[in-house]
């Protein structure tokens, strides 16, 4: 019964979404309020129906309803309870439901929030959002139906991909999709602005917070993905420039550019065309990412199921890109900048440079990702570019971005005077140089690492200096330090939220530098009782145990680690053997630390437990990535908090009296 109910709900939701999109669009053409109301009800209906689909699927998972292909493919009787719920997004079909559900949820929030306040833009935005929902429902109906019947019904399912049985995989897709789908809202309002012709900063003001939310979830999704890769895959890294990672990273880059460039539009009435282009690119790249990972056109270590879904995504991508850029071309006359760049030494140009670098990074990642395709199309030869290419091109770009992160927030608008530069940057620059010199003396030999450390200190210095000055100014009005700090964070939450996000990025940058420059590893085959030494640690192989788990067989090694004087920890890496997998899957064991993680992977071993091959890594400062993620979370939360104060602190320089 469940498959039929689910399929019926999907089709009904599709019809409602299609109708709602049409009704919302038509209502804004002829101003019919009843149609608009009807489209809003359709939006509610779509959300209810997709929610019903999700609940049906969860129910099927919990009751082991192997009459459904999706359930049989992604669980078996041994799958633990919580993974049976999260198996919902363990594979393609369920992920599409989750995606559609999030879009429909965002649509509801848009209805609730803007129904009364944005009479011009809102109906078109609603139409676009329902249109996007409709696309995902089409995919659910035709290309990747989650409610497909399986016949004959098997006794037991195949089970979830063992690598996905991890807490990271419970949260990673959710965060990532909240990010991806979140960009639907700014995109929808941008399209509405183009259609209606209100191309001012109205749509940007409406969607500012949405963009930060989506950006934050995307960042979180990327970080959790890195964490999963780090502690599950057993290669000791968190980022490999794999096409699938790149697919999520590209919209992050363009969204970051967008977050910054809208500030210039708000302040100086410049870059209207640019901002619209950026949001179109960001939204398109979220679709492109899914297309790339699900179509199978580019090889990736992420082995996803494939089907006809690629064609659907490509068609929709074409529709979105061609449609939105055509709208842009049509409204080109209204997208002229009202302000102009006064000086190269100004905040505007710092932001512009930041945008150029971010776009350059996005372009190189795009280029590197589709390069195998390009080379095959042009020369008939499959060539792939690997991590060396991405690192070579992107490291200088990211260093430049770090530098601009220090310059941008403090340099004066319009034209920076020598006094402004001296006052804001002399101390931080000096601090950066001194820090690099100190690290050099302390024995840091790597030039890139030194450069990065210096830049991090410089940026942190600018933030600290600015915050200190602002606090001091508030202190003059009689506040204590604590009130001054708190008041500042509350009143200028957007500015200081952004600063905290910057600090989070700095912490992440330190993690990247530390892990790349100072990690060390060794491989060894040890007889029982034998030891291996690495970076002051002595590791001893104590023995192997075998155990039977709920859905797999597990061989666990026990290793003690001592640092010369005392026992530090005992690590128990394992190899898990799932009945359906040909090879064993390594389960890493590790001890996380602020400065270094001890990270141990079990390789081959003798069945009698006499010897085992292991890989021991001392990964330095990887935890800083996760700490940076927490800082980022604080900053983003602060930045989206309701603003206390309407007018910005500086006079709106670009707003001239227009006669």
């Amino acid at each position: 019964m469940t498959p039929e109910l689910g399929y019926a709900a999907t089709v009904a939701a599709l019809v409602l979404a299609g109708y709602g999109a049409g009704a919302a669009a038509w209502s804004s053409v002829n101003g019919r309020g009843d149609l608009r109301l009807s489209s809003e009800r359709a939006a509610i209906g779509v959300w209810l129906l997709i929610t019903a689909c999700m609940l049906l699927l969860v129910y099927a998972f919990l009751t082991f309803d192997f009459s459904m292909t999706y359930v049989a493919n992604n669980t078996n009787r041994g799958t633990p309870f919580y993974y049976r719920i999260t198996a919902l997004w363990g594979a393609l079909e369920g992920s599409i439901i989750l995606w559609a559900w999030m879009v429909s949820l965002y649509t509801l929030i848009v209805v609730a929030r803007y129904r009364r306040t944005q009479p011009q833009l809102y109906p078109w935005a609603l139409a676009v959002m329902l249109g996007v929902s409709a696309f995902f429902l089409v995919v659910m109906t035709i290309a990747a139906p989650p409610f497909e019947r399986l016949s004959p019904i098997p006794d037991d399912g195949r089970g979830l991909n063992p690598l996905l049985e991890d807490s990271g995989m419970i949260t990673h897709p959710v965060a990532l999709y909240l990010g991806f789908t979140g960009f639907t809202v700014p995109f929808a309002f941008a399209m509405a602005a183009l259609i209606v012709g209100r191309t001012g900063d109205e749509w940007i003001t409406i969607t500012r917070r949405w963009t930060i939310v989506a950006w934050y979830f995307l960042s979180l999704g990327l970080l959790i993905g890195g964490w999963w890769s780090y502690h599950v895959l057993g290669w000791g890294g968190y980022w490999a420039w794999d096409p699938v990672e790149n697919a999520a990273f590209m919209p992050w880059l363009t969204a970051t550019a967008f977050l910054h460039s809208v500030m210039i539009q708000e302040r100086r009435r410049m870059l209207k065309l640019w901002n619209l282009t950026l949001i179109i690119l960001t939204f398109s790249l979220t679709l492109f990412g899914t297309f790339l990972t699900r179509s199978g056109i580019i090889g990736s270590v992420h082995a996803f199921t494939q089907g006809s879904i690629g064609q659907f995504f490509l068609a929709f991508l074409a529709l979105v890109v061609l449609g939105s850029f055509s709208l842009l071309a049509w409204r080109l006359d209204r997208l002229r900048a009202q302000g102009e760049l006064d000086s190269v030494v100004s905040r505007e140009s710092a932001f512009l440079l930041n945008n150029l670098f971010l776009l350059a990074a996005a372009f190189t990642v795009f280029f590197g990702t589709v390069f195998p395709l390009l080379s095959e199309a042009v020369k008939g030869v499959k060539v792939s570019v690997g991590a060396p290419f991405f690192n070579l091109v992107n490291i200088p770009i990211f260093l430049a971005l770090l530098f601009l992160m220090g310059v941008g927030p403090l340099i004066a608008w319009r034209r920076a005077s020598a006094e402004n530069l001296r006052r804001n940057f002399l101390t931080p620059v000096a601090a950066g140089i001194v820090a690099a010199a100190v690290f050099r003396v302390l024995g840091v030999g790597n030039t890139l690492a030194l450069l990065c450390l210096g830049l991090v200190v410089f940026v942190a210095g600018t933030v600290a200096l600015d915050f200190y000055r602002a606090c001091r100014a508030r202190r003059r009005t009689g506040d204590g330090w604590r009130e001054a700090t708190w008041g500042l964070l509350r009143r200028q939450n957007r500015r200081y939220g952004g600063f905290i996000v910057h600090l989070g990025i700095l912490v992440i940058a330190l993690g990247v530098v530390g892990s790349q420059a100072w990690s060390t590893q060794t491989e060894a085959t040890l007889n029982r009782g034998e030891t291996v030494e690495l970076a002051g640690y002595t590791m001893r192989f104590l023995g192997l145990q075998a155990s039977k788990e709920s859905n797999h067989f597990k061989v666990t090694g026990t290793f003690s680690l001592a640092d010369g004087r005392r026992l530090v920890t005992v690590l128990a890496p394992a190899k898990k053997f799932y009945p359906r997998e040909l090879t064993g899957i390594a389960a890493v064991d590790y001890r996380l630390g602020l400065w270094e993680d001890l990270y141990l992977v079990l390789g081959e071993f003798a069945r009698d437990g006499s010897h085992a091959t292991i890989k021991l890594q001392i990964n330095r400062m990887v935890s800083w990535l996760w700490i940076g993620g927490l800082v980022l979370t604080l900053g983003a939360a602060l930045a989206i908090a309701p603003e206390r104060r309407r007018a910005p602190s500086l006079p709106r320089a670009g707003r001239r009296a227009v006669a």
């Binding site: 297309f291 056109i297 090889g299 850029f325 589709v370 395709l373 690997g386 060894a524």
Partner: protein, 179 residues
């Protein structure tokens, strides 16, 4: 706005068409299938310095069956899995005219040497510091192995680790051929 500028603006949406076409083209290809254009062709020659300081020149191996194996110490676990098999094959067939040549791919000296010590490799292993040999052979990722017959032609390419069976199956017919 002039007519020309009016027409030009449509260049914005049109600019994305080639990208879309390229992506559509992707459906016609299989990313996992990587045919080597080298199979059947004379091998590209190289002369490299081995880790023990000796010179490894492919030219001097003419008339012998050669397995060129590209590996790296960071390539875990695949390169570690195949390493003992390579040594075994070399030990088994070296008297019948087989040479195994290891080429270290995008690696650092220290861990590469540790790798060799760990597996006790006795066949020649060379550094490829400029990466030129890897590029000449079109190495996509490590491990990869190229099987070269006595006439100096590439006869088979293996992407991924080699096993004892695969080595036996590929090497024995080549050894049976006349030079």
């Amino acid at each position: 706005m002039s007519g020309r500028a009016r027409a030009l603006r449509w260049a914005i949406p049109l600019a994305v068409v080639p990208v879309l076409v390229l992506l559509a083209y992707g459906f016609r290809t299989d990313p996992r299938e990587i045919p080597s254009p080298l199979v059947g062709k004379p091998v590209s020659r190289f002369a490299l310095t081995a880790f023990d300081g000796n010179r490894v020149a492919l030219e001097s191996l003419h008339g012998q069956v050669v397995v060129v194996n590209f590996w790296a110490s960071w390539c875990y676990p695949a390169c570690y899995e195949e390493a003992p098999s390579l040594e075994r094959a070399w030990q088994t067939y070296k008297d019948r005219g087989l040479v195994v040549v290891g080429v270290n791919f995008q690696d650092k000296d220290e861990p590469a040497k540790r790798f060799l010590t760990q597996f006790g490799h006795t066949f020649p292993n060379a550094r490829d510091p400029s990466g030129r040999v890897s590029v000449d052979y079109g190495v996509y990722g490590v491990p990869e192995a190229y099987f070269i017959d006595r006439k100096g032609r590439v006869r088979f390419k293996r992407v991924g680790p080699v096993s004892d069976e695969l080595l036996k199956q590929q090497i024995e017919p080549l050894l049976a051929e006349a030079a």
